[in-house]
């Protein structure tokens, strides 16, 4: 449609005059329940033209349900939606698209083998005499990408060849081509590195300056402070705060999300027990060269009971260290010892046998069998221990799962519930439960707090502390310096596969970590 000569609402930018004083989108009295359990209770929400509305809340607070209703994926049990003051109904996502509502999820819906222009035009390809009009398709792509400030993306490149940040940009461009007036961004920053964040902010500002309302979902409050105009906080299916950002502090937002006062910088409660050495084996890495990271060697060790953090920029090799230890990418040189014993692992199975387990970065893709039960996922690594002569002792398996659900406070309707139905924080706890079940000597965690809400974060930090006190050596890798600081006793900073520094105690500050991370390429 937008390939015709008339301009899209993205350029017109005068939407504010058309609807008078009515908000662009108004949701009133929206309620929704699943199997009798309320997910949304009487929620009102107004979206204003040209404003960024941050939507905050812990996992399970109702954010996803709310945007699903807004974008036609789910139907409300009661309540109404108006656009420009006129009542509308979105029985399907395509109806919502027609109404100008476009949702951009973390999982991008692009076809990697097709070009940017083809992706943008998918389903609404311009034709001339019955044939696809490639030229006008590419021109339109160029125009929309320019509107977003992405002048360096060639519409003829295959989407799969672009960086994640640029793919996200293409996804948003797709919304523009479809004349979006309301763009919902579901945790857009979760897949981006820090350097790409400014690009995202710039793009969001371009969207709002053309009169589009943006719904911005995130767990990161610094982003809210940076980009949001209005802040809406959800808790237990209700809207608890809806105010201009200027009227709120970060502490106000956290308080609204968790429903109680939380001291922002208070140390986690187990921190008193930090640096208490336990009498398990020490993990020693000597002279190890990571494949694909040149000939630099790594030397470090982690005591039993210690939580070591590894910080570094994206691509610095921080995740490779964990993958090497977990048997996913054997080192090209060097040795790893656990206590006195030389460890040579060439597969995750071998690593687990030596008591080394990894909580992977991407839990949905690599950590969980999503369409299977909590029980199946929890016991997967300890099937041998739970069975005798090849027969699974199901009573023992159930008891074990129940204990794990209890001790990690996993919120689930039962051990038979499919893990895809759990919230992000609870999914992460299921992965942890599986790893902890193996009674590890070494627990490796890659981005353990990513996409996890404030409440679950604190719980996961506690669990990791517990595992360390149980005698495991723990290594945490995260792109969030705050998370590394919150979790660990000692921090190693890597850069291009080389250890460039070690920080402990008072020296372990965000500024020092950042300074070391970028130290070598000045």
């Amino acid at each position: 449609m937008s390939y015709s000569s008339r301009s899209t609402s993205a350029d017109s930018g005068n939407g504010a005059e058309e609807g008078g004083t009515a908000p662009l989108l108004r949701m009133s009295g929206i309620s929704k329940a699943f199997s009798g359990v309320p997910a949304l209770i009487d929620v009102d929400l107004d979206l204003q033209r040209g404003k960024v509305h941050a939507l905050l809340g812990q996992n399970g607070a109702g954010k996803s349900t709310l945007i699903s209703i807004m974008s036609g994926v789910l139907q409300p049990d009661s309540g109404t939606i108006e656009i420009d003051g006129l009542p509308v109904e979105f029985p399907s996502p395509s109806a919502a698209l027609e109404g100008g509502v476009v949702a951009v999820y973390q999982e991008l819906s692009l076809l990697p083998n097709m070009t940017v222009a083809q992706n943008l035009a998918l389903g609404i390809e311009p034709t001339r005499a019955g044939f696809i009009d490639l030229r006008s398709m590419e021109q339109e792509a160029r125009r929309v990408l320019d509107v977003l400030g992405a002048t360096d993306i060639d519409p003829r490149t295959a989407v799969g060849d672009l960086s994640i940040a640029n793919q996200q940009l293409v996804e948003i461009a797709k919304a523009l081509v479809r004349e979006a007036r309301i763009v919902i961004l579901d945790e857009p920053s979760a897949v981006l590195g820090d350097d790409e964040l400014s690009l995202l902010y710039a793009m969001v500002r371009r969207l709002t300056s053309s009169g589009i309302a943006v719904v911005y979902i995130t767990h990161r409050l610094d982003e809210v402070m940076e980009i949001a105009d209005e802040v809406c906080v959800m808790r237990d299916g209700r809207k608890v705060v809806d105010e201009p950002r200027g009227d709120l502090t970060q502490a106000d937002m956290i308080k609204a999300m968790v429903g109680r006062e939380v001291l922002l910088n208070a140390p986690p409660k187990w921190q008193a027990s930090r640096s208490e050495p336990q009498d398990g084996p020490t993990l020693t890495v000597s002279g190890v060269t990571l494949p694909g990271m040149g000939s630099h060697t790594l030397d470090f060790s982690v005591r039993s009971g210690e939580i070591l953090g590894i910080a570094g920029l994206t691509g610095s090799g921080r995740s490779r260290i964990l993958r090497m230890l977990a048997g996913l990418q054997p080192p090209s040189a060097g040795s790893v010892h656990l206590g006195e014993q030389l460890i040579k692992v060439r597969s995750p199975r071998g690593a687990i046998a030596q008591g080394i387990v990894l909580v992977p970065e991407d839990r949905k893709r690599l950590g969980l069998i999503l369409n299977q039960s909590v029980l199946n996922n929890v016991i997967l690594s300890i099937l041998r221990r739970l069975s005798r002569y090849g027969w699974l002792r199901s009573a023992v398996a159930r008891t074990h799962t129940a204990e794990m659900v209890e001790s990690l406070s996993i919120k689930t309707s039962g051990p038979g519930q499919e893990v895809r139905l759990l919230s992000g924080g609870n999914q992460q706890k299921v992965v942890l439960a599986r790893c902890v079940s193996t009674r590890p000597n070494v627990l490796l965690l890659d981005e353990p707090l990513r996409g996890v809400d404030v409440g679950a974060k604190a719980e996961i930090i506690d669990i990791v502390g517990e595992v360390a006190r149980g005698g495991a050596a723990v290594i945490v890798v995260s792109s969030e310096i705050e998370d590394v600081l919150a979790l660990t006793d000692r921090i190693l900073v890597v850069h291009d596969g080389v250890l460039v520094g070690e920080l402990t105690g008072e020296n372990a500050t965000e500024a020092n970590v950042l300074a070391l991370s970028s130290s070598r390429n000045e």
Partner: protein, 317 residues
């Protein structure tokens, strides 16, 4: 609303829904036809279900592990002609032929899994190739009916306790063991894990290679067993024995609620699917639907079953 839907789809995934259609169809057939619930027809239907149920069990194992096996019907065929041809009515030779058939089945399963696991070829292609090879072997051996099955073995499939053939009782025992195995064995859980997500399973310490090998070998051994049942009911093995069984078995597994992508489904549903397919054919005959329009009805019932249950599942995340 969605609560009811969840229950319905849960019911379906648990594999019971297909049994409702079986019951409804059986009820319709008994009301509309005098010959359905008779001493002649009941043992006949039960007997007919035996080979399909056995082969469905094997295919179910392969499908749960995320694989597929298109060579099963050809293996049924090869088993049938070998057992009948070599045995030729003699019990001793018959038993030797059965041992040979199982050895071939083992080899077929191992070759299939070698190509899948080591050479990373897709199961679809591998087993399609194996299908051709086995068909070729059958035709090289014989192009027409050959030999016979010992009478005592045939009798085992036709003599009955009341309306229930002995062989059917043997089948029930085998199914009971298989259910227990699915419920309690470590390998069964690994089948689901590998079929559900190979990479997650690997990272959790469950390597897919041995699991897929077991699945393909078990599937082939079930196919050999189905071949023995099929030829014993027929009395003579021919190159037409078991034609098209692989498609019926795949259909049965899918109607029963399993996912073709693996990792999801219940054995009880797959068996229900097999029973339904046999029942459809028999009921259509009994009700007096002409041979020519039976295909239409069969297809309609299958599509209805899938539309009612399978499509609803997994639509929400």
């Amino acid at each position: 609303m969605s609560g009811v839907k969840d229950k319905v789809s849960g019911f379906f995934v648990n594999g019971y829904a297909v049994w409702i259609i079986v019951a409804v169809l059986a009820a319709i057939a008994s009301i509309t036809s005098d010959s359905f619930l008779t001493e002649r027809n009941i043992p006949n239907v039960l007997g007919q279900t035996i080979p399909l149920i056995i082969i469905t069990c094997g295919l179910f194992i392969a499908i749960i592990a995320g694989q597929i096996d298109l060579s099963v019907a050809a293996l049924v065929k090869l088993t049938a002609v070998l057992v009948s041809g070599i045995g030729d009515g003699d019990m001793g030779k018959f038993l030797i032929a059965i041992a040979l058939a199982y050895a071939i089945g083992l080899a077929v399963g191992l070759v299939n899994s070698l190509l899948i696991v080591v050479f990373k070829a897709p199961a679809f292609i591998v087993t399609l190739g194996m299908f051709s090879v086995l068909e070729g072997l059958v035709l090289a051996y014989t192009v027409k009916g050959v030999g016979s099955v010992p009478t005592s073995v045939i009798n085992f499939f036709y003599d009955s306790v009341g309306p229930i053939p002995y062989a059917f009782i043997a089948l029930l025992v085998m199914l009971a063991l298989l259910f227990a195995w699915f419920h309690f064995s470590r390998l069964a859980l690994r089948l689901y894990a590998v079929g559900g997500d190979k990479e997650v399973a690997r990272r959790s310490g469950v390597n897919s290679g041995p699991v897929i090998t077991w699945a393909m070998v078990l599937c082939s051994l079930f196919a050999v067993t189905a071949g023995i049942a099929q030829v014993s009911r027929a009395g003579v093995g021919a190159p037409t024995t078991g034609e098209g069984l692989e498609l019926s078995a795949i259909t049965a597994v899918i109607i029963g609620g399993a996912s073709l992508l693996g990792g999801r489904g219940r054995l009880i549903g797959a068996i229900g699917g097999a029973v339904l397919l046999i029942l459809i054919d028999n009921a259509l005959n009994m009700i007096g639907v002409s041979q020519y329009s039976q295909g239409l009805f069969r297809g309609a019932i299958i599509v209805l079953a899938i539309a009612l249950f399978v499509v609803k599942r997994g639509a929400r995340t």
